[in-house]
């Protein structure tokens, strides 16, 4: 609870012009009752007799996350007319999977800031972050088992396996300027979009809706997830530091090959390619390199064009909701697409 209030408060502190219409807050408010129960499940089920587990888990779970995936799952279920309570526990399971991957990601990437605060590995070390990630992952399956649907278990165990594959593919593409846009898309789909897809799809599953609606919500989630990650990768070069909640330039520093860079490499001259090779392949970076990289990206319009690419996936997500009746929830879900693409943080 405290988390959500703190988060809202922080957002309200932003100058009003910077946040004309926060569609995610609107969507969140529409599922507020469900989300309150999800947060109770999360707090209860991250507990353990081993004190370090709830301590570390609370740090990452209470550190101002948007609960984007649970909110999408709750909203998808309600959009399908679901009147029960199963989606609440499953939304908690989805957030646990997400949190487990964040804990492991921060260790793998040696990231020390997450959502504007020190990351769990920065505070507690890599070892507990790995193990508590494993714990939360197991907890997510315990929650699904309590729900009892093999179908849900299939969807989320498949998504989990694909996420790990995406993470490994990302790791093997790191520091490799030859990474193609296609490989980038495969990574983004696997590591980010599949969990969005599963979260939305499960809304239709618990509501017992026909395959067409399940597929429509899967399509919505998958494409929203791709758009979300592309914009995340744009913001890593373009955001204002204090609003991003993580360090601008992290991807550059780590040598992650994201879409803005892939486009710039393809559009650049020999000297620029040598620059990318030195800074990203060889990880030989000097003062001023990040600013120079940002300058190249701007010159080739790659940040603008990445946003255009994101709009394409957003358009697919938009059309996929065509099956559903118009109502407040559907409007909020559609607005979240635009919000995801136009956000500055």
């Amino acid at each position: 609870m405290a988390t959500i209030i703190a988060l809202n408060k922080k957002r309200q502190d932003l100058p009003p012009t910077a946040n004309p219409h926060n569609a995610l807050e609107q969507l969140t408010s529409l599922v507020a009752d469900d989300l309150a129960v999800v947060n109770q499940h999360i707090l209860q089920r991250m507990d353990s007799e081993v004190p370090l587990i709830p301590k570390l888990a609370a740090h990452i779970i209470a550190s101002g996350g948007k609960r984007l995936r649970p909110v999408l799952s709750l909203a998808a279920a309600r959009l399908c007319g679901y009147q029960g309570e199963r989606h609440r526990k499953l939304a908690a399971a989805i957030e646990f999977i997400h949190t487990a991957t964040l804990l492991h990601d921060d260790v793998v990437d040696a990231s020390y800031i997450r959502r504007g605060s020190p990351s769990a590995n920065a505070l507690y070390g890599n070892q507990p972050s790995i193990l508590v990630g494993d714990f939360l992952f197991s907890r997510s399956f315990q929650l699904m088992v309590e729900d009892g649907s093999i179908n849900v278990l299939r969807i989320l165990s498949n998504a989990s396996a694909v996420i790990s594959e995406g993470e490994v593919l990302q790791l093997t593409s790191k520091n490799d300027c030859a990474t193609s846009e296609q490989t980038y898309l495969e990574i983004v789909r696997a590591k980010t979009a599949e969990l969005f897809a599963a979260a939305c799809r499960i809304g239709a599953v618990v509501a017992g809706r026909p395959a067409a609606e399940e597929e429509a919500l899967r399509t919505f989630g998958l494409n929203l997830g791709i758009a979300f990650q592309i914009i995340d990768d744009v913001l890593d070069y373009s955001a204002e530091q204090e609003r991003l909640g993580k360090t601008v330039g992290d991807d550059f520093n780590e040598g992650k090959i994201t879409l803005p860079v892939i486009l710039a490499i393809h559009r650049g001259n020999e000297a620029e390619r040598a620059f990318w090779h030195r800074t990203l392949n060889e990880q030989n970076q000097r003062d001023g390199d990040l600013v120079f990289a940002q300058d190249i990206l701007r010159r080739h319009g790659t940040l603008r064009d990445c946003t255009e690419r994101a709009r394409h996936y957003g358009a697919i997500a938009r059309d996929s909701l065509g099956l559903f009746p118009d109502n407040e929830l559907k409007t909020a879900l559609l607005d979240v697409i635009d919000f995801t693409i136009n956000r500055q943080f």
Copy 2:
């Protein structure tokens, strides 16, 4: 297949007196047909389009593991008169959970040798070891979902959560000479014995046997697992290096507080406690400290008494099989208890 043959070959190379009766080989041979299929499942399901995944997974899965947990699960099912095939896929799922924890353990412990070869993290680095561990963990749940039993999913998701709790508890007890025998037992039960228990119990579950047999096999696995881990911890101080397949003294070097040390701390004088505090709490170790530690353990008879403690759990495991009819499989399972306690590697 190659793995199993290579393993047998290695064992046969040992001097005959050192290995008068390898009960684990006997048990393994009784479930050889099942195990061959388990190995096929393992090889098929560790595959991925991301090449690093099967490469790294093959390294740890094919590196001469005894397949102890799958063999126990297969044997338990056959002991229950099971005639089907479900236990084969589930045994593969159990081995995947075990392998995932090994990958993460070696990262957490910074261990560079596993089964006499460089560990996966030594060869490929920590990052892929973490992520491929996550992948194998997800794969294990996919295998269980294919089996389709919520009951099995409950047992193994519970075991997985308890394993992570045990690992975190072990981490927080590291370098703490105040760790009690009770805390040690709680760690051992959680990190090792629960998966043995689940593996054996699932034999009765797939066979559809009554609760008493399910409980008996759970008791067998749990207590065999505790005995197994105590002896592992004894061998870490007493084994011959070339037969152990890992570095003798690893636990000492890392400051892990295991039963031989706990007993020695309780039985020792002030000077000895100061020695343990310096070497384990403060991790201030010098040349000759390991030999000196081994000398203290021998002087207080703690290795011998740890083995006695292990015999106690072995006796519980032995009695738990009383419900089952006498046959070749039961004899082999009982012999595995003695083998586990008397092994030198």
